[in-house]
Amino acid sequence: MISIQNVSKHYGAFQVLTDCSTEVKKGEVIVVCGPSGSGKSTLIKCVNGLEPFQSGTISVDGISVGDPKTDLPRLRSRVGMVFQHFELFPHMSITDNLTIAQIKVLGRGRDAATDKGLKLLDRVGLKAHADKFPGQLSGGQQQRVAIARALAMDPICMLFDEPTSALDPEMINEVLDVMVELAHEGMTMMCVTHEMGFAKKVANRILFMDKGQIVEDDDKDSFFGNPRSERARQFLAKILTH
C-alpha cells in the first residue's frame, strides 16, 4: 500500500531524512516513534507529498508521490491525515468541516456529504455537536472530528502525526479508542505516536527513528522484547518509565 524506498531529504546542508526505506501493507498498522526532531513528521508528510524529498521513491497504492506528473491533490484526497494540532477549520461549523472537501474535492452533493459526515460524527460519538464550531469543543473532541473529517473522504490509508500529544491526559484515550477501532476494522495506518499502549495493542510493526534514519523496523513483539539498537533501548526506557 505504502512503499518508501531509499528516501533522503535535506534543508540546505541539514539532512532531515537519510536513506529511509519501509513498506506498509494493506491493513497493516505501523507505529513510528523516536526522539523529537528525528524526522518522524517529515517522513510521514513525504508520504502524501506535503513535504517534497530530493531522492528515493515513495509510492502509495502504486502511484509515485515524487513523480512531477502525479496529480498530488487527487492522491491526497485518498490519503487521510490527522495532525497534532487538529487543524479543523475554525471559521466553519463542524458539519461544514466534515463536508467541505467531500463537496469541493470529490464533487459529492451536499446532502450525500452531510449524510456521510454526520454518520461519521456519530461514530466518533459527537453527533450532538454537529452545529457547533471547533472553538467550542475540547481538544479531544476536536481531534475526533478531525479523524471523522479524514474518514469522510473514504481514504485508502490514514496517516497520524502525534494525534494525542497536544491533548490533556484525560482526553488521550477517547482519541486512541477511535484509532484502535479503526485498526480493528482493517484500516491501513501509519501513526507517529509515543503511546506505547496503543502500539502494543494494534501495531503490526514499530519503526524507530533517530537523526533522520530508520534505526529499527521490527515487528511489535521483537521491538518491545528486545530492540537491537542501543538508542532504541534508551528511548524505550525513557518513555516507558513515564
Binding site: E87, A101, G135
Partner: protein, 229 residues
C-alpha cells in the same frame, strides 16, 4: 474681526450632497478594487514564484513611496488620453471620474495588499497543510480556508484604511472633480464664503470619520471577545 456668515450653506446643501455622493462612490469603488487587486498582489508576494513575488513587491514599494496627490495628477493627465485612444471616445466625454477611480484603486491596492499579506500570514501554516491533505488545490485552500480566516481578522484594519481613503478622496480636487470637498470649495468661492464652507466641510468629514472609527473599534472589541473564547 471676521464676521461669520453661514447663510450660503442651506441653499447649497443639494449641491454638496451631490459632491458627497461622488466622494462616497470613489471611496466604495477604490475600496472594492483596492481589496481585490490588493489580494492578488498579496498572494503574488507570498508566491513561491520569485519573479512574481518581486514584481508585486516592487509595485507595492513604488506606490507606497510616492504621494497620492501625484499619482492622481499623473492619472488625471495621462489616463484620459489613454482611455480616449483605447476606446475611441468622443474627446468631450468626461473621463475625470474614471481616471480618479483608477488612480485611487491602484494606489490603495498597495496599502491593502500589505494589510492582506499580514492577514494571510496570521493564519497558521497547519491550515494549508490540512486543506492540502484533504485534496484541495492551493487555490481552493486559499479561497475556502485561508482567506476567509484572514479577512475576518483583517476587517478592522481594512475599514480603518477605508476611512483614511475617504479623507483622501478630497485630493481629487486636483482634477477639478466636484467631490464633497470640491463642491464646498466651489460654493465658498462663488459666494465669497470660503472659510465658512471649508469649516463646514471639515466638520462633516470629522463627524463621518469619527463615527466610522468608533464603529470599527466597537467591532474590534466584539471580535477580540469572540477570539478570546
Amino acid at each position: 474681526m471676521y464676521e461669520f456668515d453661514w447663510s450660503s450653506i442651506p441653499g447649497a446643501l443639494p449641491f454638496l450632497w451631490e459632491g458627497m455622493k461622488v466622494s462616497l462612490g470613489i471611496t466604495a469603488c477604490a475600496v472594492l478594487f483596492g481589496i481585490a487587486w490588493g489580494t492578488l498582489l498579496a498572494m503574488a508576494r507570498l508566491s513561491a514564484l520569485k519573479p512574481l513575488a518581486w514584481l508585486a513587491a516592487g509595485y507595492v514599494n513604488l506606490f507606497r513611496a510616492i504621494p497620492l496627490v501625484m499619482v492622481l495628477l499623473w492619472f488625471f493627465l495621462i489616463v484620459p488620453q489613454v482611455l480616449r485612444g483605447f476606446f475611441n471616445l468622443d474627446p468631450n466625454t468626461d473621463v475625470r471620474l474614471a481616471s480618479a477611480l483608477v488612480g485611487f484603486a491602484l494606489f490603495e491596492a498597495a496599502y491593502y495588499s500589505e494589510i492582506i499579506r499580514a492577514g494571510i500570514q496570521s493564519v497558521p501554516k497547519g491550515q494549508i497543510s490540512a486543506a492540502s491533505a484533504l485534496g484541495m488545490s492551493y487555490a481552493q485552500a486559499m479561497r475556502l480556508v485561508v482567506l476567509p480566516q484572514a479577512f475576518r481578522n483583517m476587517v478592522p484594519l481594512l475599514l480603518t484604511q477605508a476611512i483614511v481613503l475617504f479623507q483622501d478622496t478630497s485630493l481629487v480636487y486636483v482634477s477639478a472633480l466636484a467631490d464633497f470637498f470640491g463642491a464646498a470649495y466651489k460654493v465658498g468661492d462663488r459666494d465669497g464664503r470660503l472659510v465658512e464652507l471649508l469649516l463646514f466641510a471639515g466638520a462633516v468629514y470629522f463627524l463621518i470619520c469619527f463615527a466610522a472609527s468608533q464603529a470599527v473599534r466597537h467591532y474590534q472589541k466584539k471580535l477580540n471577545a469572540h477570539v478570546a473564547h
